[in-house]
């Protein structure tokens, strides 16, 4: 198996799917870059995180489209193109820029099929980079998947490994529903094994990435490697956990979580988002409503605080849940 960064795994998925289906197009600010520049380089950027590099050179300017800074129109462009038969992969750069284009996301793409008698299909993939880790402060660091997971009609991906990023991107592009695809900035350069050849990662199937008996840790995105670190430390003390990577927050794989909870009786949920109406809250509610009789301890919710993402290194580090926080939470559920 090849070792790839998440950036390169996503790039491969885009290359493969554009090759496979000529209806797949890519659009966004600086997805190629260089247009109107003085160097003559027609692909000066390849996406500011390098995820779309090489696409314009390979597939040309008709399928790899640099846009002006116009997020509302970028998502609208994708929506309309999808309604009319193309399969757009639009990039919003930073997830925070959803703020500029929210109407096109939650009033438009999410609702077409339902409102239009089941006739509309909107196979848009909306890619965006999220998360803290770059000290990019309050408007460039948010993890807003809880907000969009709450919208009926959207599917929401939050991959944590290069393999899942590739498999989920390919699935997202072939999926006929609109898919919001969150890429964690702090994971772009992390390498992992990616299987050779064709594979898709289905939605609504969480991954049990580590098996144990004492507690269930449910998490996603960048918190998966953090929870892995915590699990390794706990194992040295003889404590083992089921570690579940949700992978998609819409749909949620309830079965895998409840199955694990029925074995361990103790649940820790870890979410980089703010605590109120978070994915952590959602999973805690799942445990209370459908796994109540299995619970042997109060659920521990580990999230960011109810504040914007702060800038300074020391503050951002404090803001983001840490492996130590996760370890302490597991010990706490075991004490009851």
């Amino acid at each position: 198996m090849a070792q790839l960064s998440m950036r390169d795994a996503l790039n491969q998925a885009l290359h493969e799917e554009m090759e496979r289906d000529s209806r797949v197009i890519v659009m966004g600010e600086d997805v190629a870059g260089g247009s109107g520049g003085t160097s003559g380089n027609i692909e000066a950027a390849g996406g500011i995180f390098g995820v779309t590099k090489g696409l314009k050179t390979k597939f040309g300017g008709d399928r790899v489209i640099d846009t002006p800074i116009s997020e509302s129109a970028i998502v609208g462009l994708a929506n309309g193109a999808a309604l009319a038969g193309l399969r757009p992969v639009a990039e919003l750069m930073f997830a925070d820029f959803v703020g500029v284009s929210l109407d096109q996301i939650f009033n438009q793409m999410a609702k077409f099929r339902y409102m239009f008698g089941g006739k509309a299909t909107t196979p848009v993939v909306l890619r965006m980079a999220m998360g803290a880790g770059m000290n990019a402060a309050a408007q460039h660091s948010q993890t807003i998947y809880p907000m969009l997971s709450a919208v009926p009609g959207l599917k929401v991906c939050v991959p944590s490994t290069p393999a899942d990023a590739k498999g989920m991107m390919k699935q997202a592009i072939r999926d006929d529903d609109p898919v919001i695809f969150f890429e964690h900035k702090a994971l772009y350069s992390r390498k992992g094994e990616v299987p050779e050849g064709e594979f898709l990662t289905p939605f609504g199937e969480a991954a049990l990435v580590r098996e144990g008996k004492d507690a269930t840790v449910v998490t996603l995105g960048r918190m998966v490697p953090f929870a892995m670190k915590a699990a390794e430390k706990l194992e040295a003390d003889g404590i083992t956990v089921d570690l579940i990577d949700m992978r998609t927050t819409s749909p949620i794989d309830e079965e895998t979580i409840l199955e694990s909870l029925s074995q361990t009786g103790r649940l820790v949920v870890v979410d980089e988002s703010n605590p109120i109406c978070s994915i952590a809250s959602e999973i805690a509610s799942l445990a209370v409503t459908k796994g109540f009789h299995d619970l042997r301890a109060p659920v521990q919710k580990i999230t960011a605080p109810h504040t914007p993402v702060p800038f300074a290194r020391e503050l951002e580090r404090m803001y983001v849940p840490s492996p130590n926080d996760i370890e302490a939470a597991v010990r706490a559920v075991l004490e009851v």
């Binding site: 600086d30 109107g36 000290n135 020391e314």
Partner: protein, 321 residues
């Protein structure tokens, strides 16, 4: 040149302050002590200063992700800014905002902004307050060529016209929007497009302080007198990458060098001022030395400034909760 020597000295010092602040950050940034994204304003000094030298205390400005120059020009404290950029507890934003979110409400500076195109409607709101106060104050937004394509900017322009507000749209065309040339992103013409909203456009050479000052003076006077919104369109360049660390693959090799050698804003103002016999080169050098010492001292104190703690992270989300 209707400005007094004292005004010109002040403008020159402000421009030098911005230039040194930014050139110094460019040197300090690779050392690893500054976190996050830093977007430098070097090359565009004449625009910020040419506009802000026409403003009074009660006027407002709102800026962009590339905000240092606009902030300094409106009178933000360079030390407070430097400490903020270094993420210090005694920075203007208590270390919570950083380079992209410098603000000083006491100075009428309503914030740099990380969301491209977000500032313009907010500045229209401030213009509404200016009009309500009836004191002749104005509200100014700075907008890049890239940002000018954002729907929020179109809406802000139309709103300001409809409500006939004392609003000044400063359009700073530095040729690039991240890695894309301005000519690609702007489908028609910035001047024509702005005029299409019913906003008169005053054009200026963005490398020349006097050109910007004169255009801005006329524009701002019109806005103050209740004639409705105006725009100042100034063209310049940015000397560094979009952000610190940008490899600038979109740019011809000698592009910046050529600008620096020919039309550089500092060179231009020095030549004009000394040529007209207002100040000697030595007098300007003295200002330079004073500014340099100030920046040295700001960087030095910022490097060892107080580190923010949990209390700072948890406070000011609300006044009361």
């Amino acid at each position: 040149m209707q400005q007094s020597p004292e005004q010109i000295r002040q403008a020159y010092r402000q421009m030098r302050l911005i230039r040194e602040f930014e050139e110094r950050l460019h040197i300090e940034n690779p050392k690893g002590e500054i976190a996050g994204f830093t977007h430098l304003y070097s090359g565009q000094e004449a625009i910020a200063v040419g506009v802000c030298e026409n403003l009074r205390d009660g006027d407002y400005i709102i800026s962009t992700h590339r905000g240092h120059g606009n902030c300094l020009a409106k009178g933000c404290d360079p030390r407070g800014m430097m400490h903020e950029i270094y993420g210090r507890a005694d920075g203007l934003g208590k270390g919570r905002g950083g380079s992209m979110h410098i603000a000083d409400l006491d100075k009428g500076m309503l914030g740099a902004n990380g969301i491209v195109g977000a500032g313009q409607p907010i500045a229209v709101g401030a213009a509404l307050a200016c009009k309500a106060k009836g004191d002749g104050s104005v509200s100014v937004s700075f907008t890049g060529d890239g940002a000018s394509n954002q729907g929020t900017v179109f809406e802000a322009m139309n709103m300001a016209v409809v409500l006939k507000l004392p609003k000044v749209f400063v359009l700073e065309n530095n040729g690039y929007s991240e890695h894309t040339g301005a000519s690609y992103g702007i489908g028609s013409d910035l001047k024509v497009r702005t005029e299409g909203f019913g906003i008169p456009v005053y054009e200026a050479d963005g490398f020349d302080y006097f050109s910007v000052y004169d255009a801005a003076r006329e524009a701002i006077e019109a806005a103050r007198s209740g004639k409705g919104p105006v725009a100042v369109l100034a063209t310049a360049t940015r000397y560094f990458g979009h952000f610190e660390g940008d490899p600038q693959n979109y740019r011809a090799k000698d592009e910046v060098k050529n600008f620096r050698e020919t039309v550089d804003a500092m060179k231009t103002i020095r030549e004009k001022v000394t040529g007209a016999g207002i100040f000697t080169a030595e007098e300007l050098d003295e200002i330079d030395a004073e500014v340099l010492a100030l920046i040295d001292s700001c960087v030095e104190s910022a490097r060892s400034g107080p580190v923010p703690g949990a209390d700072i992270m948890m406070s000011d989300v609300y006044l009361d909760y």
